[in-house]
Structures are given as C-alpha cells and as structure tokens.
Amino acid sequence: MTEPAAPAREEAPGTEPSQHYPFGKIFSEALEANNVTVTVLALVAATVLGGILCAFTNPVVLHAPGAGAMIARAWDVASGTYVALFEGSVVNPHTLAALFQQASIPTAIHDGFLSAVFGPLSETAVAATPLILAGLAVALPYRAGLFNIGGQSQFIGGAIMAAWLGYAVNLPVFVHVVVCVLGGFAGGAVTGWVVGEVKARTGAHEVIVTIMLNYVMQYLLAYLLSSASLLQAPGSPNPITPPIASDAHLPLLAGSNLRINAGFLIALACAFGVWWLLNRTTTGFEFRAVGANPNASRVAGMNVERSWALAMLIGGGLAGLAGAAVIGGTDFTLNPQSYGTYGIDAITVALLGRGSPGGVVAAGLLFGALHAGSPGMQDVTGTPVQIVQVLQALIVLFVAAPPLIRTLFRLRATRAAARGAGTSGAAMSKGWNA
C-alpha cells in the first residue's frame, strides 16, 4: 500500500522508525517476498549459470576444435564439476566401493575406510558450523527489527575470549572446553550488547554502529596479536596466539580421522533454541512484536529498548559461539585472518534461510557443502575455487532478487495479484455484513 503523504507522526521519545531505512526495507523485502518456490528456483538458476561459467572458463572447452566438440566438452566439464562438488561434500562412490571391498567391518573401521566414506559429510558439517551460528546471529535480531551487520565484530569478540581461555587458563578436562565455549558466547554477547544498548539509549542506527564496530574489533584483534605482552605467542615472529590446550578442543564426534566436532551439535542446538525462544516464549513474543510494530508493542506495555538490547546480546553471543567453534573445533589458534568472511556470509545465510532458524541450518549446510566441495572441483576439472565463490554469489543474487527469478521463470508475481485483489473486493469478504 502506498505510504500516505501525511505529516510524519510524532514519535514518542526514544522511538525510531527503524523500518523506514532503505537498507532495512531492502533487506526485509528480500526476506519476506521469497517463498520456497523462489528459493528453489534461485538455486536451479544459479546452478545452471554456474555450470556454464565453469565450462566456459575451462581451457579444454575454449580450445575445442569445433562447435559440437565444444558443447560436448562443456557438458563434460560442467557435469564433472558438479559431480566433484557432490563427491567432495556428500559422498564419494569410490570410497563407498572401497569400503565394500573390505573383508570385515572391523578392519574397514580400523583402516579408515569407513571414515573415508563419511569424510565429505564431516567436512560439510565442519564448514557449516560457524555459518549456521553466525547466520542465527543475523536472523534472531532481524526478528526484533534489527539488522545485525556486526557478525564479524562479534565473531572476533568470541574468538578472542575462546582463544585466550583456551591457552592461558588451566582447567580440568571437561570444564575447560565448556568454559571456552561459554567465554566465546560472552565475548560475542558483550560486543553485540554494546550495539543494542547504544541504540536503545541514543537511537543510533544499529547498521552504522555494527559496521563501525567491525573495524574496531578487526584492528583491536590485529593490535592484540602483535603485542607480545597481550595475545601474541611468546617468541613468535607472527601475529598469532599460542595454540589452545588440547582439553580446550571441542570433542571430535566420529573418531580422530574426521574433523566433525561438538561445535556442529552446538550449532544445531542453538538453531533449535532460537526457534524455541522466538516462537514459544514470552521473550520471543516481545522480540517479534517489537520487530513487527514497535509502536503497538510500546502501547501494549512492552519495553522496546530492552528487547533491542537483549536481542543484540543474544545475537552477538551466537556470533561469538561461531568464533569459539572455529577456534576450538578446527583452527586451535587465533590469527588476524581467523574471522574470514563469516560476518558477511552470515547475512547471506540468513537471507537464503529466509530468517528462520530451520532455514538458516539448511542454508548453512548448503554453503558448507560448497566450501567442502570446492577443493575437489579444482582437482578434478581444474575449476578455480573462485568459480565456487561466484556460484555462491549467484545463488544469493537470485535469492535476494525475487522479481528476477519470477521474470526468469514467468511466475505470477504474488504482489501484483495481491494488489489486484487488495484494492477491491478482498475486504468485502471480510466485511461486516458479508
């Protein structure tokens, strides 16, 4: 419905029309205008376009003697690329065949053939873990009407805590890892809470504050790592922390040959926890109400500012957990590149997951699979890793632009249909005397 051109309604003190910012508008439209069909079709479109890109960046295809041969080779390369992706991220038939050729199950396990079968899935789960956690860190505040672009800073906050607790503190076996994980949550939570609190008290927009905090944390990390008296490993010429103690490692779930660790379970538990919090608790009810209509929430007696601060605190904590999962699960030390692109990928994952915890898990697994499968793609068909990243970007592009997909597949735009009915009779069926 068109915005009426009426004079702006006076806001109560401390209120802020957070939905009216262009960024928020774009983000929320991208999230809400999607349905499952569009998401699936976006994946299909990205896959097709990605395949074409793989084929036509390949020298073998480009140097084909004729058009027919070129098409044949292009098909080979594209299909080979996706097969390699599948084998690298889900299951490789060769390892499966090798498993069945073993004399007995105990020898198969002992010689590592069983692990080899599950290796790709394990890698997918490992890569998905921080993506799911950081994706939740965007999805949860989003439901409270906040756009958390600060996944990176919160990730760093969590990683610093987890790494420091991991190498500098001596604790009993089980306790140590729990403390590291909780410390990671706390580190991220503080970083996130600052943003929520600043917004609650002053009305500063969280997008600006989070982006700026990303820089602050990024350079704070670089400073800490290059100061020998602080986090830098003694005697090391490199900006890197000492390795964390082995009892601070997240426990492996499937033996020493597979990297899958408890971090993945933490991510799944957090996804369930976020779902439960949002949909089944009074706190989540407040978050959703505040996110959908802060004015009505205030009138209904809710403390809008407190909800903002709390949502950013929990969101930040989740991103901090992502940091702890990376430090405790795979990296075991902290360096200036540890945060990678998780902060940005988190937005992508939340977008693809349409802001719901279940969707975030699915999107995190998909991106995890792309990560896990990309080395294989390079090995088998010579597809550069960059093309995998292009593929990811294409998926997001299509998901984030539903009109593009609708046009591409000639879907009837739901919005136009709604407009037709909206101006007219829809209300009639709900009318008083109907």
Partner: protein
C-alpha cells in the same frame, strides 16, 4: 461531460465486487457514492479510473462507449482521481508534484518549471485553493496536500473528479473548506464523484446519492432523504444511530487527572494544566477539533509520553510516572487512536494480538526456570482467542489470520476484545470509531455503553460530535490543550461547537442545511493534525 456506467460487473474469483452497477453522472453535479466499507465503491472507481477492467458492462462518455485500459486512458478521457492515500512525492514541491509525469521541456530540454508554477498559481487563484507552488509537500497539512491532488487532476484537464473518501483525513474545518472547493468546481462545470460512508457529509454536499451495498446499487436518493433512510439502505436494516442508554449512575471517582501538563516534542505545550475526573459508571466525552492536544493527552495518560506536571491517579493509586505496563496492570484499558499503528501488530495473528498486553500473565505463560524465558501456553492462548472471537463476533477466517488483513471494524473488535477481556476499571478510547462503517460504529458504541453500565469509568476522546453526543454522560471540550468547558449532553451542538472553536463565535462541525462560509483555522498555537489517514479497505 456526461459520464455513464452501464451494468458494470467485476468479479474476483468467486467474489462479486460489483454486480451490474449502472449510474449516470450529470455535468457540474456532485454525485455521491454511499456505502459501507467493502460495498464495492473503490472497486467501481478503480474500474472507472482504468486500474481494473470490468468483466461486463460499459463506460460511456457523452454517449459513446470508451475502453479505459489504464489510468492514462482515463486521464485522457477527462477523468481525474484523488486517492484516499495521496500519490505525492513528499520531498518535492507542489509544482514539481503537479508536473510529475507530464513534464514539459522548455528551451534546451530543461524542465519548464516556471510554466508549471504559474499554472498552479492560476488554478489556485481561480478555485480559491490557496496553494503555494513552491511549498514542499511534506510540510503541508493534509488538507492542503489534498488540494495539490485536486490541482494535479485539474492541470490534466479533468472534467470528472473522483474523490475517494476525501474527508477521512480531514478536520471538520478542513472538510468545510473542501466542500467550498467542490462547489467552486461544480460551478465551473466539473462533475465530482464523492465517495464516502459518512451520511451527513453526503447529505451536505451531494446532488444525487447512489447507495451501494454488497456490490450492487440498492437505491438512489436526493440529498433531502433522511439520515435514517440512507442508513437503512446502506446497511440493509434499520440502524439505531443513537445508542439508547439508561441514565448513568456515577459512583466513586476512579480516574483523577489534576493539572496535567504535557510538552510536545517541538517544545510546545500540548496539554496545559488539564484537570478532570471520571467516575465509575459514567462516560466523559472529550470533544474537540483534532490536533488540540487530544493525542498527547491520551499518550500521557498511558505513560507513552512524559508529563511535565500534574498528577494522574486511578482509584487513589498514583500513576503519574508509571510505565505503560504498570498502568495496564492497574486496570486501565486503552483503545488507541491509530489502531493499525498503535493498537495491533498487523503481521501477528488475531490470537497473538488478543494477548498482546497479557502474554506474560500466568494464564498464558509458565516459567521454565526462575528468571528465565517463560513458555507460552499455546492451548490457553488458542482457547482465549476462540472465546474472544466468539464474544466479540470478530469476522476472521481463523484465529491464525494476520490481523492486518481484517477490515477496520474487525480490527477494532480485536482491540476491544483484548482490552475489555482483562480486568479493568478505566477505559480510555480515542477516536474509537474513526473510519468504521455504520454497523461497526453501532457495535463499538454498544460495547462502550455496556462497559459504563458495568461500573467502568469511561473516557472517550473524539473529534466527531455525533459520537460524543451518542455516548457521553458529560462533555468536556478541549481547545489548545485546555478544557474550555464542561457541558451536559443535552446542551445544543452549537454551544459545544462554540467551545470547540475556543469560545469564539463561530460554529464548526457539519451543518447540512447551511454550510459555514469560512471556517478559519482553529488557532495559531494548535499543532497540525497528526493522524495518519485510516485505510478503509484492507487488502
């Protein structure tokens, strides 16, 4: 220009929004379309404006059939439309808005701004519109913005002007001004199609009244038809316009407001040392032209706006600085002025909206860990929704339907069901029936009176004098943040009107027989009305 619609039928799936509608608009006349929300008025006008294509029927201009495939065709045919929600660019000037879409390039391809400006000035002068072409639209009051829309239509040479619920966003004084403009337009041969569900306005301005009900024409009347006749046609049964109520039997003082002062965000005093009391079992009606501090008063009473002085007590409990939640818990039920913005979360289901301020009560939430988040008790919430929906006759597909998709009347019922469903001693209702159709108004009024009869202290704030007279046991008139007088409801409307205008000797409000020549602005200090236009028909 003579415009005729013949047998227009428009269906949406199984729903017949317009069912063989025929009507003829004579040149230079005001033709009113009267009907409840959802009667098919807007659909018909969208057909006429080329936004929708009719399934059957034809449109004739001066006797020849035309096909209006888009608003462009309609404009070319001389049809102009002023939508209920204005189609203006707030950050553009009046002249820029007027020229939008028909920009004329001058020398060297530059925008010929001077020509548009002079055109606007000319039209403004001819029709007495008093619009400055260089003013920024966002800085104009709603009433003037509407005139910009009218100028837009006139610049495009409209012979027939469609006004869709034009008074929904106007104050009584602005409405009078609009009526004067409409008469100017018709004097110069422009026809006006005036869409409304307000009986008195239609009576006051129309030359012919066509009444629509459920998509069909149910009658055509001259403006001298009685209100009761029109109302009966509109809703299909006899309506009691005035709720019959036994005399009040006021008890103890419940709501006590003493010397309340509220300073607005711009530093002006919106509510100035206001004092009044509401007793159990009585309705105090606060009358006044919109924008005289009523909004700020209600928000201050609910703790949504800080007070600069004075005290608010409920049954002796001092609530002057209490949070909104504490006031709600102390037994204050609140029906906010802007139901879509302040009363409901549109994307929430009806059942969620029904617990919007009680969700954390024991009956709906059970603690999991002490101090931790509490589990919502979904079965209890569903049961509550079913009961409330039945009790208040909310017409909704199901309890899980998004509240924002309900019609205005049903949205208001959801709010009433929620607020009256919990224990309360005070009911504060601001503009409780704004934008509602006659049937809904009747329902809401009955509920409010029954609250009074159950011993609740009721405070009604309304800019509709009819409503004040229908409900109030005592009337307080508010002007520029002060109460200019208390009156009993048997006092003449002219007297209340005089107080509404600050005691000056003029009579605002609608007088169907003799329209006011010039209703001046309420006063320089009065802030502009800040109500958002009420969407009549929800998509």
């Amino acid at each position: 220009m003579e415009l005729e619609l013949r047998g227009i039928t428009k269906r949406f799936g199984s729903l017949v929004a317009n069912d063989g509608i025929s009507l003829a608009v004579a040149p230079g006349k005001v033709h009113a379309l009267l009907g409840e929300n959802g009667a098919g008025k807007s659909t018909l006008m969208n057909v006429l404006y080329g936004l929708l294509q009719p399934d059957e029927g034809e449109i004739l201009i001066n006797g020849t059939g035309v096909r209006l495939g888009s608003p462009k065709d309609a404009i070319a045919a001389g049809i102009g439309m002023v939508h209920q929600h204005f189609m203006l660019v707030p950050t553009f000037t009046v002249a820029e808005n007027v020229t939008l879409g028909i920009e004329q390039a001058g020398w060297g391809g530059l925008l010929d701004a001077r020509r548009t400006r002079s055109e606007v000035r000319e039209l403004s002068h001819d029709y007495g519109l008093d619009v400055d072409p260089d003013a920024l639209v966002e800085e104009l009051p709603v009433g003037i913005q509407q005139r910009v829309e009218i100028i837009k239509a006139l610049v495009r040479k409209a012979d027939v002007l469609i006004l869709d619920e034009p008074t929904a966003v106007l104050t009584p004084a602005e409405t009078e001004e609009l009526f004067r403009i409409i008469r100017q337009l018709t004097d110069r041969g422009t026809s006006v199609i005036f869409i409304s569900h307000k009986l008195r306005e239609v009576q006051a301005i129309a030359d012919t009244i066509t009444v629509l009900r459920r998509g069909a024409v149910v009658g055509e009347r001259a403006p001298d038809a009685t209100i009761d006749d029109l109302a009966a046609l509109m809703v299909g049964r006899d309506v009691q316009l005035r709720v019959s109520k036994p005399p009040a039997s006021p008890g103890r003082v419940v709501l006590d407001v003493a010397g309340l002062t509220v300073v607005g965000t711009d530093g002006q005093t919106c509510v100035d040392r206001m004092s009044f009391q509401v007793k159990a079992g009585e309705i105090l009606g606060i009358a006044g032209v919109q924008g005289n501090g009523q909004t700020e008063l209600c928000e201050a009473l609910m703790g949504l706006r800080p007070t600069a002085g004075g005290a608010v007590t409920v049954d002796g409990e001092d609530l002057t600085t209490a949070t909104p939640r504490r006031r709600l818990r102390s037994g204050v039920a609140y029906v906010p002025e802007d139901r879509t913005d302040d009363g409901l979360v549109g994307s929430f289901s009806v059942s969620e909206n029904l617990i919007l301020d009680t969700y954390d009560r024991k009956e709906f939430a059970s603690p999991l860990l002490p101090g931790g988040p509490r589990n919502l008790r979904l079965p209890e919430i569903a049961k509550n929704a079913a009961e409330r929906i039945a009790e208040f006759d909310v017409r909704t597909g199901s309890a899980s339907t998004a509240a924002g998709t309900l019609s205005g009347g049903n949205q208001q019922k959801v709010i009433l069901a929620r607020e009256l469903g919990r224990e309360h001693r005070v009911l504060i209702a601001s503009q409780p029936t704004r934008g509602l159709d006659v049937g809904s108004i009747e329902f809401v009024h009955r509920r409010i009176v029954s609250q009074r009869d159950h011993g609740v202290a009721v405070l009604i704030v309304s800019s509709e004098l009819d409503e004040i007279y229908a409900l109030a046991d005592r009337i307080a008139v508010m002007y520029e943040g002060k109460i200019t007088g208390f009156r009993d409801p048997d006092v003449a409307a002219a007297e209340v009107g005089r107080l509404m205008a600050g005691g000056a000797d003029l009579t605002p409000g609608l007088t169907p027989t003799e329209p006011e020549p010039v209703a001046t602005e309420p006063g320089p200090v009065a802030p502009e009305p800040e109500d958002a236009p009420e969407p009549e028909e929800k998509p």
